[in-house]
């Protein structure tokens, strides 16, 4: 009976109902997809790194404390660092309008410098948030009827999905209000508290870009 069982086992192996057609092609297609995905991932990492570097540079440029820290690090304690001349300082927020996508603006509100940036991107869906330090808090807020986030506390990092699907990492040193209008994401940095930030945004949140 044992020998018969061995023969039966060999027999059923040849009779397994398995559709093996196209197996080689399926594997080849998966390897192609992985290869493509790997190349995209590499490019994405480079883009994230580039954005992170850009944000660090922007943070250094816009914050006196950061500028001083970098200057001290290089031993340049007596160096005066000038603001980027391309970014005009406005002192009349009453007439201020939110910048268009791809633009940034620094304005002065009650003696404080406030930076407003606009990019194509979204908070919703696959947003990822990561905080550096337990003292950072992120709360979801309503900004004139639009989804927003108020990030306050320690320096932090915010990751969100840009309109082309890339993940963007932003290093933010101060309290920040982010809100989205359609495919556009606004960032307001420099207010001490949420109420002041929301009051400043006011109706501009809705008026700048229509849904």
């Amino acid at each position: 009976m044992i020998n018969n069982l061995e023969m039966r086992l060999a027999d059923i192996g040849g009779k397994f109902d398995i559709d093996d057609s196209g197996l080689v092609e399926s594997i080849d297609a998966r390897l192609n997809r992985q290869s493509l995905s790997s190349r995209r991932s590499g490019r994405r990492l480079l883009q994230i790194a580039a954005v992170a570097v850009l944000i660090v540079v922007m943070t250094i440029a816009f914050h006196p404390d950061s500028r001083r820290a970098v200057a001290n690090w290089f031993g340049l304690t007596q160096v005066r660092i000038e603001r980027d001349a391309d970014l005009d300082l406005l002192s009349t927020p009453v007439t201020f309008e939110l910048p268009g996508p791809g633009e940034s603006q620094i304005i002065e509100v009650n003696g404080r410098q406030i930076m407003v940036s606009t990019i194509y991107g979204r908070l919703g869906g696959s947003i990822m948030q990561k905080t550096l330090g337990s003292s950072t808090s992120i709360i979801e807020v309503d900004v004139a009827g639009h989804l927003g986030l108020w990030i306050s506390g320690a320096p932090h990092e915010v990751m969100y999905e840009a309109s082309d699907g890339h993940v963007v990492v932003e290093q933010v040193a101060g309290n920040t209000l982010l809100w989205e209008v359609g495919d556009v994401l606004y960032r307001l940095e420099g207010f001490e508290n949420l109420a002041d930030a929301l009051e400043f945004v006011g109706t501009r949140a809705s008026d700048a870009v229509s849904d």
Binding site: E6, R8, D20, V24, D28, L31, Q34
Partner: protein, 191 residues
């Protein structure tokens, strides 16, 4: 895939080419060993339906770690070991999901022609397949490699990463269990 040039290469030569990102060479390796791989995956997983997915995952993984082949044992045994491990992992993850008694429901056999001798043979084959499916994993894997995939004792030892002596003893015990299981099923069904 499957050009005359590749068909003349042995497995080691194909592996060397595949390591240099020669995709057709890797495809030829898959084509040569897919039938054994599918049988091993089916018996270990207890499912002909899931065997193809398991083998596909295993070969994608094999392609990722082509450099890990150390030259001990044949290329075929090395690849089938990866397939067997994938199948075992598949079973373990499924065991976590479903009840124990549902897990070996699917060793399906193709339908032959409808003649009387073939119908009898098919009935007996089905009974053996069902009995095989009810055996514990470590018994299924050794019987699957030795008889269903028709590997030698040495190849089975390489695939299961055990000594040849262990393959012999496990085979003997597993066959005895299979026979008891087969007889129990015959008695239960009143054949």
């Amino acid at each position: 895939m499957g050009s005359p040039d590749l068909a003349e290469c042995d497995d080691l030569a194909l592996l060397a080419r595949a390591r240099k990102d020669d995709r057709p060479a890797f495809g030829e390796l898959v084509r040569r060993h897919q039938h054994s791989a599918l049988r091993v995956a089916a018996v270990i997983s207890g499912s002909t339906e899931e065997a193809k997915d398991i083998v596909q995952d295993a070969f994608v993984n094999i392609h990722r770690k082509l450099d890990s082949y150390r030259g001990t044992g044949s290329v075929r045994s090395w690849m089938l070991r990866v397939v067997a491990n994938h199948a075992k992992n598949h079973v373990r993850s499924r065991i976590r999901r479903i009840r124990r008694e549902d897990q070996h429901a699917g060793l399906l056999l193709r339908v032959d022609d409808g003649t009387e001798p073939m119908a009898v043979q098919r009935s007996e084959n089905l009974a053996v397949a069902e009995a095989l499916g009810r055996l514990p994993l470590h018994d299924r894997e050794v019987l699957g490699c030795r008889f269903v995939a028709e590997l030698s004792e040495a190849e089975t030892a390489e695939v299961l990463a055990v000594a040849i002596g262990t393959v012999k003893s496990r085979t003997s015990r597993a066959l005895a269990k299979l026979q008891r299981e087969f007889e129990r099923a015959e008695f239960t069904e009143g054949r």
